[in-house]
């Protein structure tokens, strides 16, 4: 059932080193402030921090109490305050208000700000403007790579997507560059580099400059990873917008996997408590079903349950000695497996319940129709109804975007955003980022908007028109789809139990664009012959290949591929590439700014009232 790796599949490098590095650095920073101190942690950093150093480690280094950075006055009575934050202006203002309040009260404490993964000049400037630059000491915790799994590294920077693709802020590129640099110092140089997208190209060039400046370190090292592929999220929005049907993706869509772990609520655990479960390759049950199409999962789990029962049943015929053996050696493992199994069955049930309620089949059908480009009228009316029924704003926006991109902006349906004011601001953001496209640049009002204009009365309506000034990005999804054969021709039923291609992650209806590009480029070892596709992707200037002539790389390493998703990747894409790896004898390693899904993309684009 679970696909075993080909016997010749290469070993993955050991990424736990990254964790140790990060932990040691953090401890070093904490020790810089000797004595008892209270630690203020930004909410976004809590989960990643937990994966690096748990509370007892922090306590060992004299962290007294832990607080969350939020807009409330701090109650800490410690003489030393340490802030662990992302470099955001908002945080600086919070710290400034705290320090200034102390000053007013005539209190002197020691303050230390640790920026992760790096500090920005703008932050220091705000500290200066607020008049507390001299009162705090600043440090950097260069923690940019969190190994979530044996083959998945996350930078845990979900804001990358919005900051770069919407606001045009390049501040995180440097962080990416530093992360790549770290990888090449630890795991040797990358002999073959490919990439597509504006950000990918920029990051790559900056990274190369950095390597050249500091050369000597990586020179002469044997490469451990043979290829690196950098990819901008905006090259392929479609895949990220689709509903996921592979188990791991579905869990993410339903329960939200956060930093490699998920909170299963009472409805899953069938008790009155929520349970935090780490989802990775160490969970044997999960490891076998994570990449499976959901329709197979139930069958697999029940088979597994039967096996388990059989193993339990073995004890009936045992004598004392065998029983002793069984209890001491196998029972614990079985119990563990049992616990996991019941959890995943619970999760499956819960997913089934939710998905049938919302006409999941209908939804999937519409999505497939959009991807394949038939029955547009039906799909549009489905979306319309979706909106009329006010099901969920995020969901509606997602479908609208999908429609708009796949139909190249030819979305002649009446869209209305009567979900509340904030989502109207979102509308313009989507446009600017290219998630909603226009049919032809220069058309001031598309059909969509002219309809909207009649209906909208929400205060933020004006935001829609922001998009008029922004450059219209044309999507050529249909043409690309044809060129790359993204919609597999199926004769008869697509057997999801024995997948034939990467399309299985979308029930056999669609091969993820991003993964297909990677496949094609790896096959050719360059972009040769893909000129037309690159042109259609509007990336003519941003596709690159760079190979070093040295053939120091072992054949083992040449089958290891690091894929870097700038702006996030979905679990479906990960599953698809894992599948591709098994087929071709590669192993893929994923480096992403954050694991994302359609809902997260939409939320990132949303204007939320502060």
């Amino acid at each position: 059932m679970a696909f075993p790796h080909r016997p010749d599949a290469p070993e993955l490098p050991d990424f736990s080193m990254l964790k140790r590095l990060a932990r040691d650095q953090l401890i070093y920073l904490l020790e810089q402030l000797p004595g008892k101190k209270d630690l203020f942690i930004e909410a976004d950093l809590m989960s990643p921090l937990d994966r690096i150093a748990n509370v007892s480690i922090l306590k060992q280094h004299e962290v007294d109490k832990l607080y969350k950075v939020e807009n409330k006055p701090a109650l800490s009575s410690s003489e030393q305050l340490c802030f662990l934050v992302r470099p955001r202006i908002k945080n600086m203002r919070y710290i400034a208000s705290l320090v200034n309040a102390d000053k007013l009260a005539g209190r002197t404490r020691k303050y230390k700000v640790i920026f992760s993964p790096q500090k920005f000049y703008a932050c220091e400037m705000v500290l200066e403007e607020e008049g507390i630059y001299g009162d705090v000491s600043c440090d950097e915790w260069a923690f940019s790579l969190l190994p979530l799994d044996v083959d998945l590294l996350s930078m845990e920077l979900p804001e990358f997507f919005r900051d770069y693709f919407l606001e045009g802020d390049q501040c995180w590129i440097n962080t990416v560059v530093q992360a790549l640099h770290l990888l090449s110092t630890l795991y040797g140089p990358f002999p073959n580099c490919y990439g597509i997208g504006r950000c990918a190209k920029m990051a790559y060039e900056l990274w190369r400059n950095l390597e050249e400046e500091e050369d000597g370190e990586t020179k002469g090292r044997r490469p451990e990873i043979g290829h690196i592929f950098l990819l901008d999220r905006d090259v392929d929005f479609v895949t990220a917008l689709c509903s996921q049907v592979v188990y791991e993706g579905l869990v993410d869509d339903t329960f939200r996997i956060k930093c490699g772990s998920v909170d299963f609520g009472p409805e899953v655990t069938s008790s009155d408590k929520s349970l935090k479960v780490l989802l990775n390759a160490e969970d044997k049950v999960f490891n076998e079903i994570r990449n499976e199409h959901f329709s197979n999962v139930f069958g697999f789990l029940s088979q597994k349950a039967r096996n388990l029962q059989a193993q339990y049943d073995r004890r009936r015929g045992m004598d004392i000695k065998q029983m002793k053996n069984f209890v001491s050696q196998e029972l614990k493992g079985l119990k563990q497996e049992h616990r996991l199994l019941s959890l995943h069955i619970g999760a499956c049930e819960s997913i089934m319940k939710k998905k049938t309620k919302q006409d999941f089949q209908e939804l999937i059908k519409t999505e497939h129709a959009l991807l394949e480009g038939f029955n547009i009228r039906e799909s549009t009316s489905y979306i319309e109804e979706h909106i009329d029924r006010q099901v969920s704003p995020i969901e509606s926006l997602r479908l609208m975007c999908l429609l708009s991109i796949t139909e190249n902006g030819d979305a002649r349906c009446s869209l209305d955003t009567h979900y509340g004011p904030e989502h109207l601001l979102t509308f313009s953001n989507l446009r600017r980022a290219g998630l909603l496209t226009e049919q032809a640049p220069g058309d001031t009002l598309t059909a969509v908007e002219s309809k909207v204009s009649k209906l909208v009365t929400d205060k933020a309506a004006g935001k829609i028109t922001d998009a008029f000034s922004s450059l219209a990005k044309r999507s050529n999804f249909r043409a690309i789809s044809k060129k790359l054969n993204l919609i597999p021709r199926v004769d008869g039923e697509y057997d999801l139990k024995v997948p034939r291609d990467m399309a299985y992650v979308f029930s056999g209806a669609y091969v993820p664009l991003s993964c297909r590009i990677i496949e094609q480029v790896l096959e050719r070892r360059s972009w040769q012959g893909l000129d037309e596709v690159v042109r259609l992707l509007n990336c003519s200037d941003f596709a690159f290949t760079d190979m070093t002539k040295e053939d120091k790389a072992s054949s083992e390493s040449l089958r290891l591929i690091l894929v870097v998703f700038l702006g996030g990747c979905t679990f479906s894409e990960i599953s698809a590439l894992r599948f591709l790896g098994r087929e071709k004898g590669y192993r893929f390693i994923f480096l992403t700014t954050a694991v994302t899904n359609s809902a997260r993309l939409m939320e990132a684009m949303s204007e939320v009232k502060a």
Partner: protein
């Protein structure tokens, strides 16, 4: 070998002193040395002469000339002295020439006569004039001590970090002291001075009288005093021709000597070697040079010419118009080997090697002799060491040859010392060359270190030699070649007669991509010389943008800096430039600059959004970007304003902006929002409850839920909500209320634009099967089966499906048939299917 020790002079029983020529000077001096102020830097450093000083009442109209020569007499610089009278000259540890003027100003010149800077020794000095001054060397650098006309001392222990110290007064001092010197003990500078028969020691706090132990009686005045190179020893010369030698702490006497010459000596300096037990001072009169130490006899030399003594770490340099000599104690190793009839292992080895060259079997005898004593290792070491102390390359070679010869008979002799000595000697011989003129001894060289020697070569602009040495010694590039090339480039940019292009090209050709070379440093130097264009050209070669930008800003090329920063992709750098620009330019220009740089603009906008909202508005205003301005006000309408009037006003401003932007749609939408806000306010007043900030949809829903159907409909009409939506909306709201009666009335009000299936669905959602059934009958034929299945009427659904002869519907119904209850229905469907297939 007899002649080799000819210039050795014994002093007492245990020590020999020798004097040999370093260079014959052809510096072609016009004046006598005695007519000049002279300063010679230690460690084979340069010599400065200031001719025609003011102390002679000559024609004041003639400007004196300051000449700087290398130790071999090659002129390095010559300049007319245009400032005030100079009292004293001296070299700092960095080989800068310090000229102390009578008014207390100290002028600092480089080796090539380039003026560096000047500083003053304080007001007190300015008022009382300088009587005498000394430049001395301490651990921290170089110090200046000054005796003023008021017989007070002022000193600074480090001219690099100028801190003036005025020393305490010496009680009862009426005239200038007969002699004085600066002493440096325990990292503190003191002054030792002699007044008549008394000696005083001045430190920061106090003046104390001191007496040297064991001083011969009858002294009425001290004529000269000398401190050793390391400040450890002190020598005093009295008016009785008596010399006292002891420690500088004046706690111990080493020896004394009576030379019976009462004339005050011209100079007295120590001549001793580190780690030697012998102490000796060299005393010079006009025509006589005397080496005295712990012995009854002294060594005497006749001086043919006016000479000047330069104390060194391990000896004394003596230069005159025609020669430059070095006088030192013969080092132990040399003494062992060359002493007449020496049987030291080194001496035997040297002899053995010579015999070997002559192909004489005596070589073997000598070798055997050494080996029998087991002293071969020692012999080799002695030869190597002695080679280091020899000045003549021939002698170095023969000693090294002997060492190498001896080495052959040793099993495990580590080669390092031999190899290093060869390398060191090669370097030393190179810098001792007449053209270079740095007569370093081996001990001095080791004390100085190769890094400092390279610095000194660079200072003398001897770049090729410096690079050759680096390459020869295989120094790491960053410390060696790159550093020197960078210095060369910095010198190159100062050549004003060469065009910018040529200089830039020449520099790039030489430096290329040499690691460790910072083009920005060179560019900074070019800018320092006022060559901005050249600096910009050089910066082009700088690969690190982080290094380019600060200098560009300094050169006021802010716009170029901005584009460089943007190229670098480093947002911090961009921000630095932005901030700089913001302060430097007026607001309008600043915004204009931003407008051409979208990346910088978006960065700045991001910052303004959080920190300076007003600036953001100005930014849009400046650009006539009414569109963004409108959006800005809309955001303000809910983020910044609290009162409803304020919010409406903000929206009005936004609407105006949208009109200006010719965006009718947005303007209309904004106006609608204003209308909605006002209306919601009125609703709140009239009906109570919370309406503000609800969307239109939610407002209508709330009204229905509150039972205000009329108002709801009015609102829907006012804002032209489409029928379909209104039906959905009402349907959901009424079902939520479970107002089945009203729902039924509503369903009958006219034909439903959304069909009746939603009615069925929504009733079932509220678990009202009874109501659901009512609507199921009204569902259109296409959706009838679905509706019937929803209400659970499988049988009827089957009938309809069969009637429709729709395969998909049939299977749908079939999938709903569960267990026994629907067995009959299932059969029925199967039959119908079979029938359909028959047909």
């Amino acid at each position: 070998m007899d002649c080799y020790t000819a210039n050795w002079n014994p002093l007492g029983d245990s020590a020999f002193y020798r004097k040999y020529e370093l260079y014959s000077m052809d510096w072609d001096l016009k004046e006598e040395l005695r007519d000049c102020l002279v300063a010679a830097a230690p460690y084979g450093g340069p010599i400065a002469l200031l001719r025609n000083p003011w102390r002679k009442e000559k024609a004041a109209s003639v400007r004196p000339v300051l000449d700087i020569y290398s130790a071999s007499g090659i002129p390095l610089a010559s300049l007319l002295w245009k400032s005030g009278p100079v009292v004293s000259l001296g070299w700092s540890a960095e080989e800068e020439l310090l000229c102390v003027q009578e008014d207390g100003a100290v002028l600092v010149y480089g080796l090539h006569g380039d003026f560096r800077r000047h500083f003053s020794m304080g007001n007190e000095v300015l008022q009382n004039r300088v009587l005498d001054a000394r430049i001395f060397h301490t651990e921290f650098g170089s110090g200046v001590a000054i005796l003023t006309g008021a017989h007070r001392f002022t000193l600074s222990a480090n001219v690099g970090d100028l801190k003036l110290r005025r020393m305490p007064e010496v009680p009862g001092l009426q005239s200038a002291p007969s002699c004085w010197t600066a002493l440096c003990q325990d990292r503190v500078a003191h002054i030792l001075l002699a007044v008549g028969p008394d000696l005083y020691l001045l430190d920061h706090a106090a003046c104390s009288a001191v007496t040297p132990p064991g001083l011969a009686p009858g002294v009425s005045s001290f004529l000269q005093m000398a401190v050793s190179f390391t400040y450890r020893h002190l020598a005093l010369f009295t008016d009785t021709g008596y010399i006292w030698m002891g420690t500088a702490s004046l706690k111990e006497k080493l020896c004394e000597f009576n030379c019976n010459i009462r004339a005050p000596p011209k100079q007295m300096v120590w001549c001793s070697r580190p780690r030697s037990k012998e102490r000796a001072v060299v005393v010079a009169w006009e025509r006589r040079l005397m080496v005295v130490g712990d012995a009854s006899e002294s060594i005497q030399f006749v001086l043919d010419e006016d000479s000047y003594l330069v104390p060194e770490l391990d000896g004394v340099r003596i230069f005159s118009r025609s020669t430059h000599e070095f006088l030192h104690e013969v080092p132990a190793a040399s003494e062992e080997i060359f002493k007449i009839a020496s049987m030291a292992p080194g001496a035997l080895l040297l002899e053995a090697q010579k015999e070997y060259e002559k192909e004489s079997q005596k070589a073997d005898e000598y070798l055997r002799e050494i080996q029998e004593l087991g002293q071969l290792t020692q012999a080799v070491q002695q030869c190597i060491e002695a080679a280091g102390h020899e000045h003549q390359p021939d002698m170095q070679k023969s000693l090294l040859r002997a060492a190498s010869f001896g080495k052959c008979f040793l099993d495990r002799f580590p080669p390092d010392s031999f190899v290093h000595m060869c390398q060191d000697l090669r370097v030393l011989n190179a810098v001792r060359d007449y053209h270079i003129g740095i007569p370093l001894t081996y001990s001095q060289y080791k004390q100085l270190t190769i890094q400092v020697l390279l610095d000194r070569l660079v200072l003398r602009r001897l770049y090729p030699l410096a690079i050759q040495i680096c390459e020869y010694l295989r120094l790491p590039e960053v410390q060696g070649v790159s550093r020197i090339l960078a210095h060369w480039a910095c010198y190159k940019v100062q050549q004003k007669d060469v065009s910018d292009e040529d200089v830039a090209r020449a520099i790039n050709q030489k430096l290329g991509d040499t690691p460790g070379v910072s083009y920005s440093d060179i560019a900074a130097r070019a800018y320092g010389c006022g060559r901005t264009e050249l600096a910009i050209k050089l910066l082009e070669y700088e690969p690190r943008s982080g290094e380019q930008v600060p200098l560009l800003l300094k050169m006021k090329r802010s716009k170029l800096a901005l584009s460089k920063a943007i190229e670098s992709g480093d947002t911090d750098l961009v921000f630095t430039v932005l901030l700089h620009l913001k302060n430097e330019l007026n607001r309008g220009d600043f915004f204009m600059t931003l407008r051409n740089q979208p990346m910088a603009l978006s960065l700045y906008r991001q910052f303004c959004k959080h920190q300076e909202l007003e600036t953001l508005k100005d930014l849009y205003n400046q650009d006539d970007n009414h569109q963004e301005l409108g959006s800005f006000h809309i955001r303000a309408s809910y983020a910044a304003e609290e009162r409803i009037e304020g919010r409406v006003a903000a929206l009005q401003t936004a609407a105006d902006a949208f009109y200006k932007a010719k965006n009718e749609f947005a303007a209309k939408a904004t106006e609608d929002q204003m209308r909605l806000l006002r209306l919601q306010r009125r609703l709140e007043d009239e009906l109570g409850g919370q309406f503000l900030d609800l969307s239109l949809h939610d407002t209508v829903t709330t009204l229905i839920l509150g039972g205000h159907n009329k108002r709801a409909e009015q609102l829907a009409r006012d804002f032209r909500i489409p029928d379909k939506r209104l039906w959905w909306l009402k349907l959901t709201a009424l079902a939520d209320l479970e107002d089945w009666e009203e729902l039924e009335k509503f369903s009958k009000s006219k034909k439903s634009p959304i069909g009746y299936l939603p009615f069925v669905e929504i009733c079932m959602k509220q678990h009202n099967k009874y109501e659901a059934k009512k609507y199921a009958s009204r569902v259109g034929p296409e959706q009838k089966v679905k509706a019937l299945l929803l209400v659970g009427d499988v049988a009827q659904a089957a009938d309809v499906a069969i009637e429709h002869r729709n395969e998909a519907e049939l299977s749908l119904v079939l999938s709903h048939c569960t267990g026994a209850t629907d067995g009959a229905t299932a059969d029925k469907i199967q039959r119908a299917r079979a029938q359909a297939q028959k047909k």
